[in-house]
Symmetry: C2
Subunit: 154 residues, 2 copies
Amino acid sequence: MEVVLTPIGYVRSTRKEATDDGWDAELVSIALDAARFGPDALAGVDSFSHVEVIFLCHLVDAAKVETGARHPRGNPDWPRVGIFAQRGKDRPNRLASTVCRVLRVEGTVLHVAGLDAIDGTPVLDIKPWMDGFSPRGMRRQPAWADAIMQDYWS
Amino acid sequence: MEVVLTPIGYVRSTRKEATDDGWDAELVSIALDAARFGPDALAGVDSFSHVEVIFLCHLVDAAKVETGARHPRGNPDWPRVGIFAQRGKDRPNRLASTVCRVLRVEGTVLHVAGLDAIDGTPVLDIKPWMDGFSPRGMRRQPAWADAIMQDYWS
């Protein structure tokens, strides 16, 4: 079975190449495909503080996709874990999902803060972040998941 | 541009048809495609309390996809908002993303709680939920986003 999707728009970002850290420094927006969507598709997005953006890490070489286990970021200080136990981009289907802050809407352009996607990234979906979809119950994560995020945003 | 994805596995659920509410009542697991993935792909998933699952709402009729604005669930008591300001399944690319609780891993099967996907749903990705990817800063959502979640899980 194959699933065929069409980007709903593309990321515009001051970051042109994929690097690991410091994403908050970038100016980022999502320009919807104006041939298919009008401003009504974004109506009310700014009544939410955050949106979840699903995007394709399009520059990842299909030959480099990991399907088993590895050290996150290749760092031997962190345990070797399965690709579905880490968020690295070299993954099956090369999908990423990030919750970012809504700054403002201008027509079919959504300006955001804290989106870790480079310029030209195909966007597959935008969803409002709702409290009801937050993780419920006790939260637990391994120590390496704290360490890997140390400089990720700022 | 087209994006071609291959499901990494499929949902097994006691819910066979898409209905709106009460998802916590179901027993749910994700069976990886065992022809492509071994148990190592899930190694360490159970060191996280929650995973994010990206899946395809495959039964949605492409002709029913909303590209503009509408009342969520067709309810006129709630404001008419853009499709990217709501999480309804009749959306461009028909993608859904839900954070659910990890129960246990058995080989290439991941048992979860709180996944709002019906039996047979194609799964496109599984990612660990990390605190560093939680929404940052003040959170705000409209009143209808509280109302729509009232009976969603239990």
